[in-house]
Subunit: 441 residues, 2 copies
């Protein structure tokens, strides 16, 4: 007689999309112990083999890997909707920058990132790649909420309330990283803001640090046509070529936006093994354009999806980005088969994990990986009928259908009610921030 | 001493966007009696002036006119997700048409339209413009659910399970219209399917009928480039020019999709006073392209928003279409100020009402109009902070934030639970349809 094995958690689901293959498993279960995925097997076998301390039966649900938000500025939730429908420079110069200059502080970042984490967890995101200021506060918010995060060591040449020059940004960021080195959920990246805000010497220091510390590099690249024109004038080359010459391209680089790309740019990204964080909503809202997603995928470039910050989106909604990525690719190429639902799901999970250098630990429902999971309830009338659960996830179900979220096997569903019950009095903090920021509009 | 007036319903709201102007009213109330809006006034005055039988206080909500879905094929909810991510002709010929040929019936249309009405009401839509078969069943479903509808007298040259030729479609549709003439919520349009499926003689009969019966004309126009190429070959003119020569353009025409338009087409639409039903999600998903929304608005053409049917979207989600219309217009023109949230809200309400010829009765919160209303709860953490409620409606809040819906002053919020409690056993019918349709995939 076989003995049953004691485990922490068994999740049985009507459908499971593990993403490490295109398979769609039916009536399967995920066995979880000590935060990791122990096994993925038919539910009836799992019941015989395991003796779980806790059990969750998702009989009308699709279980997928937790979503990975490959680019955001989490704390900017506090600036959500502070100025919309404005030309880019007016938006930045008259609204966003003045508000940040007046209010940015560790407390701003802590409260804003808490709010972002609540929103992201409610919508199925279990990991985010952040670029903002006061990284210690971002890391604290993510760890409080039990969310996985790659915190950017943001670098700029010009001063902000956080730091004075590039070396100051880097030194402060590296010191914060030291403090969080042992935390299981918190990782770091080097995050030079953009080619037009960071000089060659700083990029060279960043390239060296990336190699020494094995950190990914998280950088806005080719978001607008103007930055390419300016770079050609100033440096005699396109921004991506400049980064390549400075040693920043490669499997460690996450090129954010990558909207304006010629064939040479795409070849350079592909041949270097660089990743792209595709942010379709933000690219439309700021009128940057439509990134050539299908061409990037056809070139074999790994893609993650990002929401960007809530000031330019204004939702941290990765299911929404999946849908828009698929729709835009079809509409802009004339090919209705471009970027299928399966492609979109892969980008939003494993693609993001690969970009962050975390694919051995997260991004798919694979035994040995951490149990970062998301369940989508497909039983509401808005989702009926349902013929293909993965297509429904992308084309039908919104983030409102997310029912359960686990990070490292720990249920984060309490995030759904977190705002009301916040031990940090986030509700009161949000009212305070709104009143303060109102005057910046 | 002023005497108070007895009324059916008083709705007090934190914010009201009446849409007949760009005003945003705070702490105002809508007084409703006998299904109509009696007054719109500050809440404290309303409490003194009226004695309502019922009262609703929306203290964290934005109240807007009920949303108008200017183009859909409601019953196609039953084909939601039956085939996604496929090239257009494979999708139509191998999946949609065979499924319709095998299953379309009055019961199919009744059940499918019921499901569509539930979804639309849950998402704030109070009126829809439908084009499908068995119009008696569509009208029955809408009236059962208390929803306003303009039912298309669909016309094609080729036979379907519903009718044999254009005259048969028209005669059957006109007979159905006779039966519903007195119903307060049900209106009709003439709905020639498209220039490439209807011949000149039928269009001429339709133009005559439109004039005699004062009915709008609801027609797919310039959805794809191919139909323009074909029309030039067959008729020696573009489809829109042909319709114009046949007398169909004018304030009665709702041109659906209108994706591929040259300057002459836009001038023709503008000068004739024709309306456009803009369906951005469907246009992307079927790879038709991106309609030139900003150019249409700049030309002074009235625009309504449509979801299209659930086989090509796959959500009947007008808040989603508002957001996408605004985003796409920005991203495709390079102008971040293009199609503001206020523009989008206007298209989704008053623009749609004008297109349907119903603007004297619905489309704005104006005394004298019917009380078709929608409330959006902006208090969830995903909507915090909130600086501009109308911008938040479009760029932040999804349809999941819709809390209350009224048609003719009657609360339809029970639609939220309608599926479970359906007196028509819709739940069982949906399971049946899913099983039947599964074999068509």
């Amino acid at each position: 007689m076989t003995q049953t094995q004691k485990i922490d958690l068994l999740i049985e689901a009507r459908w499971i999309a593990p993403v490490d293959s295109d398979a769609l498993l039916e009536h399967h279960a995920v066995a979880i112990d000590n935060g990791r995925i122990l096994a993925l097997l038919p539910s009836n076998q799992a019941r015989r083999r395991f003796q779980p301390a806790r059990q969750r039966i998702l009989d009308k649900h699709l279980l997928i890997p937790g979503l990975v938000n490959t680019h955001t500025h989490a704390a900017m939730t506090l600036l959500r909707g502070i100025a919309d429908d404005l030309p880019l420079m007016e938006w930045l110069q008259k609204h966003i920058w003045p508000a940040e200059a007046a209010h940015m502080s560790p407390q701003f970042v802590l409260d804003g990132t808490r709010l972002a984490c609540v929103e992201m967890l409610r919508g199925g995101i279990t990991c985010f790649n952040d670029m903002y200021f006061f990284p210690d506060a971002s890391a604290q918010a993510a760890s409080e909420l039990g969310m996985r995060a790659t915190i950017g060591i943001t670098t700029l040449e010009f001063p902000t309330p956080y730091a004075s020059d590039a070396d100051d940004y880097l030194d402060k960021g590296l010191a914060v990283r030291e403090r969080w080195l042992e935390h299981p959920l918190i990782n770091f990246s080097l995050a030079p803001h953009a080619p037009y805000t960071v000089n060659d010497a700083s990029f060279e220091r960043i390239a060296t640090l990336a190699g020494q510390l094995a950190l990914p590099i998280h950088c806005h690249i080719h978001e607008t046509q103007q930055e390419i024109v300016d770079s050609l004038k100033l440096h005699g080359k396109r921004p991506l070529a400049r980064l390549h010459d400075l040693g920043l391209t490669g499997p460690g680089l996450i090129a954010v936006h990558a909207v304006h790309l010629d064939d040479g740019d795409i070849r350079l990204l592909a041949e270097s093994g660089s990743h792209v964080a595709h942010c379709p909503t933000s690219n439309l809202k700021l009128a940057s354009g439509i990134a050539p997603l299908k061409r990037l995928l056809d070139a074999g470039i790994n893609i993650g999806l990002g929401t960007d910050g809530a000031a330019s989106n204004n939702r941290l909604d990765l299911p929404g980005e999946m849908r828009l990525a698929s729709l835009l690719a079809k509409g802009s190429t004339g090919d209705a088969a471009a970027v299928s639902a399966r492609h979109a799901l892969r980008m939003a999970t494993l693609g993001g994990a690969q970009a962050l250098g975390l694919a051995t630990r997260i991004g798919s429902i694979t035994p040995g990986k951490q149990a970062d999971l998301c369940a989508i309830d497909l039983s509401s009338s808005d989702c009926r009928p349902c013929f293909d659960p993965v297509a429904h996830l992308v084309h039908v179900a919104g983030r409102e259908a997310v029912s359960d979220v686990w990070v490292d096997g720990k249920c984060c569903i309490e995030a759904k009610t977190l705002l009301a019950n916040s031990p940090n009095n986030l509700e009161a903090a949000l009212t305070l921030w709104q009143n303060r920021l109102e005057v910046c509009r």
